[in-house]
Symmetry: C2
Subunit: 352 residues, 2 copies
Amino acid sequence: MIWDNELNDRKRAILRSIINDYIQSAQPVGSRTIARKHELGLGSATIRNEMADLEELGYITQPHTSAGRIPSDKGYRFYVEHLMEIHSLEREEMVKIKEAMEERIDELNQLFRRASIIISSITGYTSVVMTPQLKRAAIKSVQLVHVDEKRTLVVVVAGIGVVQNKLVKHDYVLNDDTLLQKLSAALNSIMTGKTIDEITVPMITELQHQIKAPDQIVYPVLQAVGECVRKIESTEVYTEGIINILNHPEFSDLLKAREILELLKEEDILADLVKGSPSKHHFDFKIGSENEINQLKDLSIITTVYGREGQDLGTIGVIGPTRMAYGKVVSAIQYMRDLLDREIIRIFGDNS
Amino acid sequence: MIWDNELNDRKRAILRSIINDYIQSAQPVGSRTIARKHELGLGSATIRNEMADLEELGYITQPHTSAGRIPSDKGYRFYVEHLMEIHSLEREEMVKIKEAMEERIDELNQLFRRASIIISSITGYTSVVMTPQLKRAAIKSVQLVHVDEKRTLVVVVAGIGVVQNKLVKHDYVLNDDTLLQKLSAALNSIMTGKTIDEITVPMITELQHQIKAPDQIVYPVLQAVGECVRKIESTEVYTEGIINILNHPEFSDLLKAREILELLKEEDILADLVKGSPSKHHFDFKIGSENEINQLKDLSIITTVYGREGQDLGTIGVIGPTRMAYGKVVSAIQYMRDLLDREIIRIFGDNS
DNA sequence: TGTTAGCACTCTCACGCGTTGAGTGCTAAC
DNA sequence: GTTAGCACTCAACGCGTGAGAGTGCTAACA
C-alpha cells in the first residue's frame, strides 16, 4: 500500500470519526457533527477543509452538494486496514454464544447450522458457513446394511472420519444379508485407502467374478458409493439471517432488496462470494464494488477460515451492507471461529 | 352454509368478475370496468346497485368512497366455495413439472424438496410440504455399523420402510465389529415389531446381562436409537419461495413484509399453519383473518394431503396473499399431489 | 318494476411551489 | 494554520390545486 502515507494523523482521525458515525447513523455526516461529538479540538471549518481533501482523495463522497459526507468503498477499505477498533464482544454476548454452542452437538451439520444461526443473530447480518472441502478423500471403509428385500443402505467412511450414507433401491430381491456381507468385504478389499478415481473398471469386473453378485445389486451399490464420496467431497453452505438485509435502511428499496435476497438464496453464489480466504488467523474483506457481482456492490463480505491447520479448512463469514459494523463483526467471527475449532477437535479427535 | 341463497345468479356473476379482476390487477375494481370487460349485458349503473348490495352483505368493501371495490375475506370464501373456475395447468407447465420430478430421485427428502421448489416456482407463491407423521412407528430392524474405534453408526428401519441413522461417539474403544454384531442381534431381538414406548427398562438390563456389553457403548447406542425413532416419527417442513411474498404489491410496505418473512421462516409456525386438512381429495382454505395469527391476516393458505390413503399422509400447501390466484394454485397443487402419490408408491412399493 | 343515462359529489393522487434547515465553500481576520 | 462569518445549494416538507376515477342518487325509460 503506497498510499498509506497520503493521510496524516488528523485526516485519519477525521476519516475514522466519519465512518464510525456513519456506520451508526446511516446518515451523511457533516463537519459540525464531527466537531461536536468527537473531541478533536478542531473547529468545523477546519474539518470542512480536511473533508474536502479526503473527498478529493476519494475516501468519502457527497450524495449532493449540501449534504454531509459518506464513506466510499476506498474509505471503508482504508478503515478496515488501518482505522478500525476491534473491541471484543460484550460479556453477555459471549455467554450467550457459548451456551448455545455447548448444547450437546455431535453431528457436524448441526454444529455448522448452529454456528451460522448464532453469528447471524449476534451481528444482525447474514451469516455463511461453508463446510471444509475434502478433496480426493481416501475411502476408509464401505458398509452395506440390509434394510429390506429391495433396499440396502450404503455407508461410506472417509479418511478423516466423515461418514455419509445413501439408501439404494434395487430390483434384485435380497432375503438376508449374506450376499451383502460378501459384497461388502469385497468392496472394502479393493477400495480401502483409495480415492474414488483410483478405482478402475477392471477392479470392478474382477470383483464381480470373485463373488458372482448380480449386476442388479452391484451397480446400484457402486453408484451409491460414488454418490456418497461426492457428498463427502462436496462442500455445503449454511446460511442464516438472509432477511436481516431488510433491516438496514440502504435496502429500503424493495426492488433492490428483492434482487439481493434472490441472489443470496443461491448456494453457489454464496459459495463464490465467501471463497478465497487463504490463510488462517487472517480476515478477508470484500468491500462493495470489490465484489464481482454487480448487484451486490452495496454489500461487504467478511470471511475467515476455521478448522485444523493444513487440513480441513472451512470458511465462515458475514454478509452485510458496506456500512457494516466491521469491528463488531470481526470480533464475533473471531470468537466463533475459535469455538468451532475446539468443537471440531472434540468431535473428530485431534489427529493432526 | 345457509347463506348460499343470499346471492342470486347475477350477484354471483358480478362478484366473480370483481374477484377475478382484482386477483389479476390488484386494483380496486369499479362498476364501469365490470360493465365493459365482462359481457354481462348490464350497464354500469345496474352493476353499481348490485355492488352496493354486495357491500352491504359484506362480500366486498371500499377502501374509500370514490374507489372501486375489493373483495373481503367473506367474498373470497364464497369465491373458493362456489365461484372459482379451476382451469387445469398449461400443457407446458405440466411438462415442466413432470420433467423436474422425473429426474432420478430415490430419497424422500429430495422428493419433498423438489416438490416444494416446483410448486413455488409454478405458482409464484410460497410453498410448504410437510412430511407424513408416523405416529408410534414400529421398529423393523436396528443395525450397528463399525465406523472407527470410537464411533458407530446406528441405523433404524421402521415399519413402513423409512430409514434413519445417527452417528454416535463413544468412549469405549472398539477394534472390530464382533461386539457390535452381538449387540445388534440382541437389540433386534427385543425391539423388532415394537414401538419405542413398548421397550422397557427390564428389557435393556436383561439385554446387558446376556451379552455383557459395556455401558459406555450400550447407552450411547440406545440413545441414538431413540433419536432415530424421534426423527422417524417427527415431521419435517420443507418450504420454498418465501421471498416471493415480496413480489406482490400488498406487501410493498417493508415493515409488514419483514414481519411476515420473519414468521414464515419459523418451521413450527408453518407447521401450525398448514396442519388440519383432514381428508384426501379435498382442499382446505384458510383465508385472511380465518388464520389465527394476526400478522398473517393478509395471507391465504391452501392445503391438501398426499400419500397412501389411511397411512402416511403428509400435507402440501401454498401460502400467498389473500388476493391469490386460487384456481391456478388449486390445480397446481392437485397435479403435484398426484405426482407425489405416484412417486411415494414407486419408492416404497405399494404395500397398502 | 327493473334498468339506465346523467349529474353532482367525494376522495386520492400527482404536480408545482415556496419555505425550511442542514451543510457546504469561500473569504477575511486572527 | 485555524476559525468565524456569510452567501449559496439542495433535499425534504407542507400546502394548495386540478385531474381523474368512481360513487350514489334521481329521473326517465322499457
